[in-house]
């Protein structure tokens, strides 16, 4: 039923000529649909691993040394990068909002963590401000660490001198250097500090963990070459040198690769509409032209929807880098396969949920960011810390508001 409707939708799209859609035939989707043997070759070394890559089953790929495993590690690294950015953003927002609302809680380690997050994200200016405010912390180690870090440029560890926090910073920097996170990832899943306030506890997770995890996974990823490098990826095709060559596919189709100046969701939406106007008739044609085996691949592996989602995720990340969270939000929303809206699937990559979470967070939709993070929390225990942090922010933002509830 769904598929039939999709086909109907394809039929209605503008009927482009074969030549106009030609560039799309250079994509990896067309390549493996037309010659399934090449696909079989590319995944020969670890079929099971490639199934996991296709399903975005990043957890089970961990520690796998095959090409599939390395592709998984690369995706995992990108995911931790996303999470590190979300975390940094959330710490800043939490600190600022708390201070503006009622002043920072007395004696708390909160400003230290906000500062540490900024320091690790490379924003020394901001970091210094927060670390100075941490000088009122009750905990001696925190005070000491804050003082030491305030005077150290990001990326360099001050001498630990028995200070618990500085030791930890040192461990992170060492781990990043040798590509081994050790058990530092635990700081992302369970709190590194339980601070007692009157009647309740404040739990803080390690703000440096995701960046370390990203480095470690990136080290495991290495480089993959040939078709295996682009399979199930947003990169449509490789050039002669083996580098990703997106421009030669998209530009002839009139799809700009620039993010544009203004952060408007509508710009992203019209880009996606333009993409679909090309992709739909092409997919239909491809479906009709290829061999039975190729068609089987196209349908079973949902290659076109998967590729489309990857392209949009790539656009979303690009928009986030360019400071356009509203565009990113639109891209990510349009990429999501709503048949399984709360789970990772061949179309819904974990990165998609991370992009959605970051875009939502940066457009003030903190509560909605949690919806996206929830999916990742079910997947990876290390997301728990980010989830709690964004949750704290959402709660803080709602403290003075009155809830509204209605029926239906």
């Amino acid at each position: 039923m769904v598929f039939a409707l999709a086909l109907v939708a394809c039929e209605n799209a503008a009927e482009d000529t074969v030549e106009e859609l030609g560039p799309l035939d250079r994509t990896w989707v067309a390549t493996i649909a037309r010659s399934p043997a090449r696909f079989t070759d590319a995944i020969a070394d670890d079929r099971a691993g490639w199934v996991m890559v296709h399903n975005h089953d990043l957890v089970r790929l961990e520690g796998n040394g095959s090409t599939a495993g390395r592709r998984g590690a690369a995706a995992r690294a990108a995911l931790h990068d996303d999470l590190a950015r979300i975390e940094a953003e959330a710490w800043q927002r939490l600190g600022k909002r708390w201070e503006a609302r009622s002043g920072l809680p007395e004696g708390s380690a909160l400003p230290f963590f906000v500062g540490l997050a900024a320091w690790d994200a490379g924003d020394q200016e901001t970091a210094r401000g927060w670390l100075h405010r941490a000088s009122g912390a009750d905990d001696d180690d925190i005070r000491g660490a804050a003082l030491a870090l305030a005077g150290t440029p990001p990326g360099n560890a001050p001498s630990p001198d028995g200070n618990f926090w500085l030791q930890r910073v040192q461990a992170h920097i060492d781990g990043r250097g040798n590509g081994d996170a050790g058990d530092l990832g635990d700081g992302a899943s369970s709190p590194v500090l339980r601070e007692h306030a009157d009647g309740h506890e404040r739990l803080f997770h390690d703000p440096m963990a995701h960046r370390t995890l990203a480095t470690a996974h990136r080290a495991a990823a290495g480089t993959v070459e040939g078709l295996a490098a682009v399979l199930f990826s947003p990169c449509p095709a490789l050039d002669d040198q083996g580098a990703c060559d997106a421009a030669s596919v998209w530009q002839p189709l009139g799809l700009s690769l620039e993010a544009g100046d203004a952060d408007e969701a509508e710009a992203a939406r019209s880009w996606v509409r333009a993409l679909d106007a090309k992709l739909d008739p092409w997919a239909k044609r491809l479906h009709d032209e290829v061999s039975d085996e190729g068609r089987e691949l196209l349908l079973q592996l949902r290659l076109v929807p998967g590729f489309r989602a990857q392209v949009l995720l790539d656009r979303a990340r690009q928009a986030l880098r360019a400071g356009h969270p509203r565009q990113a939000q639109a891209y990510a929303q349009l990429a999501l396969d709503l048949e399984h809206p709360r789970e990772v699937s061949p179309v819904n990559a974990p990165g998609l949920y991370a992009a959605l979470a970051e875009a939502n967070l940066r457009t003030g939709h903190t509560r909605e960011a949690l919806d996206a993070l929830q999916v990742l929390t079910d997947l990876l225990p290390t997301v728990a810390g980010v989830d709690e942090l964004v949750g704290d922010l959402a709660v803080l933002e709602g403290l003075d508001r009155q809830g509204d509830s209605k029926e239906n």
Partner: protein, 506 residues
């Protein structure tokens, strides 16, 4: 003469041909037309959405969901945080052309607080001690306790004093069919097919993009999606989960996430035996296979407490008591029931109850039939009574005259369950009373540390899951669907139409 007749006939012909043109309006579907257009008595989402079109508050959300002034030009908070002065924007007009003044603001607050008004929104102004009009454009509010950011609470819609006789407003007041507001749209007319037409408010601050809005009542949810594909509608406010897959593959339609904080429940009347016994309530919840109930409705997530799973307040440590007829039998026996005859009996009385549901709750029929079936197969007789709007309001909201209800709560991003679970909450239909829960709700309300609020509400989740005043069912995947002919769409996650004035039609 003949020529004249011909000309007249031609004119009539032209008029007939010109009539059906749909125009550049946006038509959106609701399951049920709002029964009442009056912000003082708004209880359903469809009414809240219409309010958003017709009325303005002092403050509203901007696109980043931060508080921003709507009717207010500027405000100043006293140093002691116990009072504030609000200056209204100049030249604001009601839909009928009258100026919006400080008197209107004072009137609205007084009307909400008026005990005889019986407003369902009275709680929104309980923190205001006194409201006075300093001059026609300035209001002075004093508070009962210091308020750090009072503007966060000044979202309620302002009503025109001149449209009412006194601050005692009746539900049946003529205002409900002839509302006057200051929002982006004015109510043009109620049409015969139960649809409502809205036209732009000509002097709305910032202008309005779409020249006509029509709210259409399409009670058959299956038909809504079809109408959208037929392009006979431009927007579906909430798509049935089972239609999502079809709609996302249609390039004339785009889906927008909307309204994610809502959950379904079966609520018990705790003042009636045998629901006063927690063992009976727990047993009933274990006799229900919630996944099977959910299947015909679509995809969603099963819940163990009064928050959706992604909520910061959801307590993931609370175990989910799923379908477990064995344990249920044990509990029922413990509570004095016996099912030797095939039906659960106690002191000669069978365990039966009537389940009430609102007629237009989407897919409620499937859920209710299914539930009835499941419970009957476990020896519990359930009769079902679907209530229309008026009966629902009177029997559930006012009289609390029911055994059990099936319904759905939608929350804004604050997920404030106080009204639902506090012993004096206005929406605590079942009469649930727990000292600990009241304490926790107070802690949550007064908290100035997010960690404190989070901890309190997570504990509340655990307590409520133990007490089972209701069976928490699920949260559904909620999306709105809009035609791609509508552009610049930004949807407020709760009120939907907050940014409607910026939408455009191509």
């Amino acid at each position: 003469m003949a020529r004249k007749t011909f000309a007249a006939a031609a004119l009539v012909g032209v008029a007939l041909v010109a009539l059906p043109a749909a125009g550049q309006g946006l038509r959106y579907a609701e399951d049920l037309a709002p029964a009442i257009v009056n912000p003082l008595f708004t209880t359903t989402m469809s009414e809240a959405r219409v309010n958003e079109l017709l009325f303005s508050g002092l403050y509203t959300d901007d696109q980043d969901l931060a508080t921003s002034p709507a009717l207010v030009a500027y405000a100043s908070l006293a140093d002691d945080q116990l009072s504030m002065e609000l200056s209204l924007k100049p030249d604001l007009r009601w839909h009928d052309g009258q100026p919006v003044t400080a008197d209107d603001v004072v009137f609205t607050i007084e009307a909400m607080r008026d005990d005889d008004t019986l407003s369902t929104e009275a709680g929104r102004v309980s923190w205001i001690d006194e409201a006075t009009a300093v001059d026609s454009g300035t209001v002075r509010l004093t508070f009962t306790t210091p308020q750090a950011t009072p503007e966060d609470k000044l979202y309620f819609k302002i009503l025109p004093r001149h449209a009412f006789d006194s601050t005692t407003v009746s539900r049946s007041d003529a205002f409900r069919t002839n509302p006057v507001g200051s929002g982006p749209y004015r109510l043009a007319r109620f049409n015969d097919d139960n649809s409502i037409s809205f036209t732009p408010h000509s002097t709305f601050d910032g202008g309005v993009g779409i020249s006509e809005l029509v709210m259409r009542e399409v009670s058959d949810k299956n038909y809504q999606a079809k109408l959208l594909l037929y392009e006979s509608l431009e927007a579906l406010v909430r798509v049935l989960p089972r239609d999502l897959a079809v709609l996302q593959n249609n390039r004339k339609v785009e889906l927008y996430p909307y309204q994610t904080n809502s959950w379904w429940y079966v609520g018990f009347n705790l003042e009636r035996a045998p629901f006063d016994d927690v063992r009976v309530r727990s047993a009933l919840s274990m006799l229900i296979d919630v996944d099977a109930l959910l299947a015909p409705v679509g995809t969603g997530e099963v819940l163990s407490g009064p928050f959706v799973k992604s909520s910061p307040f959801y307590n993931h440590d609370v175990p989910y008591d799923g379908y477990d007829p064995g344990e249920a039998s044990r509990l029922l026996q413990e509570a004095g029931f016996d099912n030797s005859s095939g039906a659960w009996m106690r002191d000669g009385e069978a365990l039966t109850f009537t389940l009430n549901a609102h007629q237009t709750l989407e897919s409620s029929q499937e859920v209710v039939i299914n539930l009835q079936s499941q419970l009957q197969n476990h020896g519990v007789e359930v009769s079902v009574d679907f209530l229309d709007e008026a009966a629902w309001k009177s029997r559930v909201w006012r009289e609390r005259d029911f055994d059990a209800i099936l319904s759905q709560w939608s929350f804004d991003r604050n997920e404030d369950v106080r009204e639902q679970l506090h012993s004096d909450g206005l929406r605590n239909f079942g009469g649930y009373e727990s000292e600990r829960v009241d304490e926790l709700l107070d802690t949550a309300r007064d908290a100035s540390d997010p960690f404190a609020k989070k901890a309190a509400l997570r504990e509340l989740h655990a307590v409520v899951a133990q007490d089972q005043p209701m069976i928490f069912l699920w949260t559904l995947d909620s999306y709105a669907a809009l035609s791609t002919r509508v552009s610049d769409v930004v949807i407020h996650p709760f009120y939907f139409f907050t940014f409607v004035n910026q939408w455009r039609m191509n």
